[in-house]
């Protein structure tokens, strides 16, 4: 099962939007994912165990797993592209 970090500034508001969207996607595609909703400052403590980071915040750091920017979920523009990107990673 993939461990997916969903991060935003406070781990409350915008990450909940993304969390809900990924949950739905996973259900539709029968994928099991372990979603962990956190603050962006807490990514560090999950570095060794995570498979993917999806974040509405920005990040300039290099991580050993792919990072997907999920700002589209907030603006409402380009959501489908971002979803496709996330789905591809989940299926790997």
């Amino acid at each position: 099962m993939k461990k997916v970090l969903v991060a935003c500034g406070a781990g409350i508001a915008t990450s909940t939007v993304v969390n809900g969207a990924i949950e739905e996607m996973a259900k539709e595609n029968n994928l099991k994912v372990n979603l962990v909703q956190i603050k962006i400052t807490e990514v560090g403590s999950h570095v060794d165990t995570a498979d993917l980071l999806v974040t509405t915040a920005m990040t300039k750091k290099e991580y050993p797993f792919p990072v997907i920017n999920a700002r589209a979920f907030l603006t409402g523009i380009g959501i489908e592209d971002t979803k496709k990107q996330i789905l591809e990673e989940l299926k790997k």
Partner: protein, 419 residues
Amino acid sequence: MQGFVDFIQGFLDLGATVILPVAILLLGLFFGQKIGKAFRSGLTIGVAFVGIFLVIDLLVLNLGPAAQGMVDRLGVQLNVIDVGWPATSSIAWASVVAAFIIPLGLVVNVVMLLTKTTKTMNVDIWNFWHYTFMAAMVYAISGSIIQGLIAAVLFQIVCLKVADWTAPMMSEFYELPGVSIATGSTISYAPGIFLVKGIQKIPGIRNWNADPDTIQKRFGIFGESIFIGLFLGAAIGALAGYNVGEIIEIGMAMAAVMVLMPRMVKILMEGLMPVSESAREWLNKRFGDREIYIGLDAAVALGHPAVISTALILVPITVVLAVILPGNAVLPFGDLATIPFIVAFIVGAARGNIVHSVIVGTIMIAISLYIATDVAPIFTQMAVNADFNMPEGSAQISSIDQGGNIVNYVIYKFFALFN
């Protein structure tokens, strides 16, 4: 007509936690949601309030007596507990004026877009809670819903104007084209932009800088709320003269508050999300093809290493400030996790210079602590109006975010003149 007025009055008397769920149900239906989905949203919000109340109880009942003990023993006057923005937003949404804010906020934004008085289309409906808080505060002193709503509109106009003004700076530094930040927590610290410009003119200081990687390694622990809760809780317990067992207990309880509070507010967010998404689509459909900024949560800027580093350093500084500033009564707690939102504009203006950002952040937070101290009685009264259980005795609550918000304070003081 009288019957209708009685009906509305009876509904408002039902208590705050019933009103917002019903309002969300109605708004959901207005945006064309199925009744089942709309009802579920409303119900979710009601459930969230129950959860948030439980955690605030845990916070206030544990930290209240300890803060009082610390006051009695050491004479430091820190008996106003900073409950943090998650709890603050709940107090705002639990106010009777909350039901009006989402539709009103949308109308104001649309009118300003149509009259070209703003370029920001704020799709960040969740952060309408800042406007709600403004309205609730003025309602609490005036008893007038109309005055409350006028205050909220003023607050919103300031947010949109500042968002327009800062958008070029934000999009350049944070690489966020077409985006502006209208979050109330961040807007309040816009005056910091001028301070940054002043500091960058001072010879010597203007060349100081620091490396974000080293700071994140050294101060990383201040980014994890669970540890902040544990350490701060235990430290306060120790200062209050508790024995070892009690110190561990209060440390554990405060770690729990830090972890549980966001989870509870997340439920509130889940309940608001369908309406928020519908509102966003509604706005996008009408204004999406114009040359405008999309107003987003400040969260989009927060992962920047300079923001994280600045915020990490400011956590211990805020605690020290609270202790040494004469006249401050706020015991920083919940909003220690909110500092990244506070510094988003400042770091942008300083172009990522951490030393300058920390200096300006320190000054701005000091101002916020004083404001938060000053509004504590009315803040506490608002929580009581929202049916939160407040402890007997002298402990009060407030918050650094919104409670210490400069724009909120100026508008509040203005309305206080007449009431």
